[in-house]
Subunit: 227 residues, 2 copies
DNA sequence: TTTTATCTTAAACGAACGTTTGACAAACAT
DNA sequence: ATGTTTGTCAAACGTTCGTTTAAGATAAAA
């Protein structure tokens, strides 16, 4: 959410305001929930006038939906799409270690897109929060965000796991994997406190190595050479 | 949250109202977040007058804190406490399969306390939500709820896992395990939709078998005989 | 019965909410 | 130069929020 158009000075000003509101809104909504953020604090935090939000997004709900849309737009930059997974699987060999390396690649992409790069962090937290109490936008989010991502994961599980009973197992196990990543984002305060860290900064490699190893094991793959 | 005193008719009336408010509040706060629930809708949903909430709990914040306290009070009924884990580990043998059976027991207790019995479901969702944006009650929750539970888990990991690099690995892996259970609660709507289920009802055994097997693998233990 | 304590209730309070309005400045198009 | 579009702003709108008050109802204690 950092690029901006260069059409004209006046347009650029408005676009910059739009981006500022999307970024500020994502962080505040993720931290405090939709109802926990007032338009006045949001405007103050973004350094704009109260009415500017309604001007650009039609209102509070409009801004919220725009933030969610922003995430679904860059979905494939975070989660490797199903075709990419299939391609990678086709290239790889059939030995357990070779299958495991595909899993490493997938988890590496996930960790890089969500833990290392933090551009879309708050957006993903917002979306994952919507799961607890599905409202009318749930169907849209399910179709445009969750379903494709979890499809990638169940393909990965089905084609790599050493122990996979049936389709239910593949789908549920795919969900278990994404659960781990989501929760790494949401409980980063608790995890850092327990590990004596200030933040994940400087510990990405440690986390990545542990998570990759554990996911390998979860899929019944060799845990020794996670990379 | 179902037992009640029998001191007198009048006292019993008030206590019943208290319990109704705790139950109703837990569900509403879990689904909509603290700021997403108004005292008027809460009172209407519980079938009591608006002022009754303030009478019993001092206000909205008081009810919220009472709900969280309710969960920390029954913490050990959900998460096996550290001493129970150590005792079980001491009884068990040293073979991988015997270690794995201790893990099965732990996961069975967790699934039973949170997925099968649903008394404390909403409370746990509320607590896990507080993780995203720690406030002043975070320290209290960390000390009274999370720290003991995660201590149990890191002991379990340290004493059973076949691949455990160091203390960081044990703590983080313990967190990965609880992440899976928490997310099973929070995203039950999405999971059921993906699996074509109405709810978890009638599928507890399926979930339990898959989760136990996957956790065994995650810890580098034999995945064949999960029970 | 009278008194007291416990619990519920309707009504009102000020504060904060999301939204709308109309005026204003700056950069466009003609 | 002139009118239009675009973006920002302060002020006010009606609504809903959490809280408080004072009165009423019921069971226990005197």
């Amino acid at each position: 959410m950092t690029e901006r158009g260069r059409k004209s000075l006046k347009r650029a000003q408005g676009e910059e305001t739009r981006i500022t509101l999307l970024d500020t809104g994502a962080e505040l909504f993720a931290k405090n929930g939709y109802n926990g953020v007032s338009m006045r604090t949001l405007a103050a935090e973004a350094g704009v006038n109260l009415a500017t939000i309604s001007y650009h997004f039609g209102g509070k709900a409009g801004l919220y939906e725009a933030i969610i849309q922003e995430i679904t737009n860059v979905r494939d930059q975070i989660f490797p799409p199903t075709e990419a997974v299939r391609a990678r699987l086709a290239e790889a060999g059939e030995t357990p270690e070779e299958r495991a390396e595909v899993v490493d690649w997938f988890m590496g992409a996930l960790i890089d897109g969500l833990l290392v790069r933090t551009d879309y962090l708050w957006g993903v937290v917002i979306i994952s929060r919507e799961l607890v109490h599905p409202t009318e936008i749930f169907s849209k989010m399910e179709a445009e965000f969750f379903s494709p991502n979890l499809e990638s994961l169940s393909v990965l599980v089905r084609e790599t796991a050493a122990h996979c009973r049936d389709e239910t197992d593949a789908i549920l196990t795919g969900h278990l994997i994404v659960s781990i990543i989501i929760q790494l984002l949401e409980s980063h305060a608790l995890i850092c406190k327990r590990l004596g860290w200030d933040s994940y900064q400087g510990h990405h490699k440690t986390i990545e190595a542990i998570v990759k190893t554990r996911i390998r094991g979860l899929l019944g793959l060799p845990m020794e050479n996670a990379q």
